[in-house]
Each structure stands twice: as C-alpha cells, then as structure tokens.
C-alpha cells in the first residue's frame, strides 16, 4: 500500500508539471516576443513607434500608427457588421425559430467556423473586391472589404457564444415575464438579454480578438498600403499583415521592428482576453 501511495504522489507531481505546460508555453511566448521586440522600442522611443506615421524600414523609420489605426478600423468595421447579424441570428435561433430549424442551423453555423481563414480571404478577393471596385470605386482592396470579410468570419464565434448564454437564462424568467402579459419580444428585450448580457459581451470581445488577430484573410483583401486610410474605400494595412508581409525578407532592425509590431498586437489581445475572462466569470458567478 505504501508503495502505491508513494507512486500516487509521484504521479500527482508529474501531472502538475504537465499541467503547468500551458501556462509555461504562454510565458515562453511572451518572453520571446518581448525579448525580440522591446529593445528596438527603447532605442527609438515608444512615442516614435506608437505615434510615428511613416513606415520605411529601409530608412530606419518605424512608425506603426497607420497599422494601429488600420487594425482598429477593420476591427470596428467587423463589429458593425458581425455583431448585429450575429446577435439577431442568436436571438432568432433561441427564442423565435422552430426547434427543428435551430437543430439544423446551429451545427451548420458551427461547422462553418472551421473553414480556414485563407478560404474566406480568397472568396473576398474573388467576389467582394471586384464588387466594391465596380460599384463604389477605389481599388476594391479596402477597409470596407476587410471589414466585411472579418465581420463574416466572426459570425460563428458571436452566434454560438450568444446562443449559449441566452440558453443559460432560466425559463422561469421568461415564464414570469409572459405571465405578466409581455410579448415574446418584450420578454427578450427586457428580461432575457439583460440576464444574458455578460456572456454576450464576452462573445463579442472574443470575436473582436479574432478580428484583430486575423492575418491571411486580411492580407488578401485589404490592399496593405502602410498609410492611414482616408476613407473606407482606401487600402489599409493591419498590425498582423505588417508582420506577415515583411517577415520573409526582413533582417536585423527591420525584423526587430516586426517583433515590436507583435508586442503591440500581443498587448492588445491580452487586454481583450482579460476583459472577456472577467466578464464571463462574472456571469458564471451569478
């Protein structure tokens, strides 16, 4: 018995080591990205990185403002498109549609979450970009095209998390509201949505993280000019595309500047993750 108990203690220790792997991987990634990206930021000053408008790596000018603005613009655009569509679909599928329709559509939407991002980008390049060019003018490769593609890409995330948190609202809430004479919509608007709010917000923030972090699809439809876009029809370059476009041939300071781009991206994502984590835990506690 003592031998078995001793083994059990060893197993526990071994498993703890393995369990720490996830957090250590996170730590190693953070360490390497910061180790590679921060020295150049200190050398040139944070201000010139965050607020500099010129990105000419060959002339040692590493202003990231156009890319930061670009990332924020396409992410905001993705939310304008993805959130209303996603929320409306989630509400429809949980509260208004026939159960059988929901049983077909929810898996279909979830399956589509698995389509690789390059495929979304390709469809955007083949259909959306020419459509925008012919109907609205400009090169077609634009903030608008990137926002639309990203808006579609975050739909599955927004829809399935919203569905889960709407379903988590106890039926007694709905029954109480309907018993008071409220219509279904009034019940949804005044009872169900407020109760599901933090889960829905967490879903939106995760979608936002997906949009900011997306690379390949954006490269294919955004045009990638390193200037602050003057309109939604102008081309745009995001933080992610800045890294992916130049990594293949960058060296020395240029490469370090790309890692600095990664540092900024990383910080934005971690802030979003933490907010999503806090809001969803809050709902669970309720």
């Amino acid at each position: 018995m003592t031998r078995l108990e001793k083994n059990d203690r060893l197993v526990r220790l071994g498993l703890l080591m393995i369990a720490l792997s996830a957090i250590s991987v996170l730590a190693i990634i953070t360490l390497f990205i910061f180790e590679q990206g921060t020295p150049i930021m200190f050398r040139y000053g944070f201000k010139s990185f965050l607020l500099g408008q010129d990105w000419y790596p060959s002339e040692k000018s590493f202003g990231l403002l156009p890319m930061i603005v670009g990332s924020l613009m396409v992410t905001f655009g993705a939310l304008i498109i993805g959130v209303p569509l996603g929320l409306a679909s989630a509400i429809f599928l949980t509260e208004f549609s026939h159960r059988r329709l929901t049983r077909i559509l929810k898996p279909v939407i979830e399956l589509l979450a698995g389509i690789p991002s390059v495929v979304y980008g390709f469809i955007g390049l083949m259909f959306l970009v020419p459509f925008i060019r012919d109907n609205f003018g400009g090169p077609g490769l634009s903030v608008l095209a990137a926002s639309l593609i990203l808006g579609i890409m975050i739909l599955p995330t927004v829809i399935s998390i919203a569905i889960d948190s709407i379903r988590a609202v106890p039926d007694s809430y709905r029954e109480g509201s309907i018993a008071l004479g409220a219509t279904r919509w009034q019940t949804v608007r005044m009872v169900v949505l407020p109760a599901a709010r933090s889960g829905i917000i967490a879903g939106i923030i995760l979608g936002m993280g997906r949009a900011i972090g997306e690379t390949m699809a954006v490269i294919m439809v955004a045009g990638n000019a390193a200037d602050i876009p003057g309109s939604i029809l102008a081309p745009v370059r995001t933080l992610t595309s800045n890294i992916a476009l130049e990594m293949a041939y960058a060296s020395e300071e240029h490469r370090e500047a790309l890692f600095a781009t990664g540092v900024i991206l990383f910080i934005i994502i971690m802030i979003l993750n933490t907010i999503a984590n806090v809001t969803s835990t809050r709902q669970r506690k309720k």
Binding site: D8, I18, A22, F92, V119, G213, I269
Partner: protein, 282 residues
Amino acid sequence: MGGQLKLQPRTEQKVIQVFMYLMTSIAVLVLVFILVVILKNGLPQLNLEFLTKNPADMGREGGILSTIVATIFLTFIALLVATPLGVGTAIYLTEYTVESRITRIIRFGAECLAGIPSIIFGLFGFILFVNKLKFGWSILSGGLTLAFMVLPTIIRTSEEAIKAVPPAYRLVSFSLGSTRWQTVTRVVLPSAIPGIVTGVILSIGRSIGETAAVIFTAGSALRMPTSLFSSSRTMSVHFYILAKEGVSMPKAYGTAAVLVISILVINIVTYYLMEKYIKRKS
C-alpha cells in the same frame, strides 16, 4: 388601456420577428455561399491525378500530393506533442486537485493561449525553433508551433470529457481499494476516451487549416518532405500562394476544395461525437 396600445407590442413583435428572420437568413446564406462557390469551382478540378501527383511548375501543373503529405506530417507531430500535455493537464485539473489559485492560473493561461493570434505563434516558432534551436524551416518547427496552438483546445475538450464521467464510477473504484492513478487509468480515461478523441480531431481540423503560423516555421518549399528537418509547404500555404500570387486559379480552387472537404468531414465527425459522448452525459 385602448385596443391600440395592446396591438402595438404585437405589431412590434411581428416586425422584429421578420427582421430577425432576415438577418439570420443573411448570415446563413453568406456562409453557405462560400461553401458552394468553393465546391462548385473546386470539385471539377479533383481527380485521382490531382491527389496523387506532385505539383509542377510552381503549382501551375500537376497535383498537390507533396502538400498533402506535408500537412499530414505536420499535423501528426503537433498532436503527438499536444495530446499527452493536454490530456495530462486535464487529468490534473479534474482528478488530482480541487479548485484553487493554481487551477485558476492554469485555466487562465489556457484561455489566453487560445486567444493568441496565429501570427504571434508564427513569430514565436520562427525565433525559437527555426532560429535559436536551429531546426530551420522544417516539419519539426511547424509541428511544434502547431502543438502549442492546439494545446488549449485539447485541454478544454479533455476536461469536459473527464468531467462527464459519472462520479459513481470513481467511488466504486475507490471502494474496491484502487489508488487514484489506477482509478484514472482503468476507469475514468476509458470512459472519457471518445470525448478526448473529439478534441484531438478538432485540433486536426485547426492544424490543417492554419496558414500564418505554418508559413514562417515550416517554410514554403514545394517538394516532397523527406525528413523531420525538410522545409515543406502545407495545403493551406500552397492554396494561399496559388491564390495570392495568382499562379493558377483552377489549381487554387482544387486545393481549396480538398482543404474544405477534409475540414468539413472532420468537423462533422467531431460534432457527432460531441453530441453522443459529451453533451448528452453532462
């Protein structure tokens, strides 16, 4: 209370219902449209030759065999590394400890890892595996990078699968005098296997579709991989290059069709397993 006041909420309800119906249709139609376009243009490209010949002339001619092989190798390495780590973490979290600060930190770490964009994984893999450890652009560098990427998925699904095993099973095993480890290996894991497999299959899907993390770690050399250290181009990277550089649209559609079909099959199998083994029990 006039009749009109009572009618208004109902009219509102009707209007909203139609609006929601429209929005849902748009969302579903857009997603289905993507699928239809890829399959309609891609399926005619598919034949035995496309699947069994190597790409020639930068992908303009021939098939995609070497990219399929590279994708399989890369995915295999990723799972070989990530599965033991992920399942071990899940066992620790569910069987060997109670909710504490450590479990919260581990879960938070996994959640953060899940949210990190693939391009960051690509940067990291490039600096650690390709440069510092001198694996070069290779199957090994790409596979290890993907392993880190899919780790959170495997942890989460294994945890759910293990939690879905009824507590009574464990109690019976303990009452027979088994240790915790015996209980885990002989009682809990066998019942949780289908759920764990689900997570693994889900990760296969993600690995196959990944581009940004792979292109900087496995490279994009268009040849048949011969060892762990050969640089090679996966299907999704091949598709990206064909489409972005406009090398050959028919071949791009063909590659996309193979990609999308394999991922859909994988996801359908996962969905079926999930319904059967995880959701029903919990």
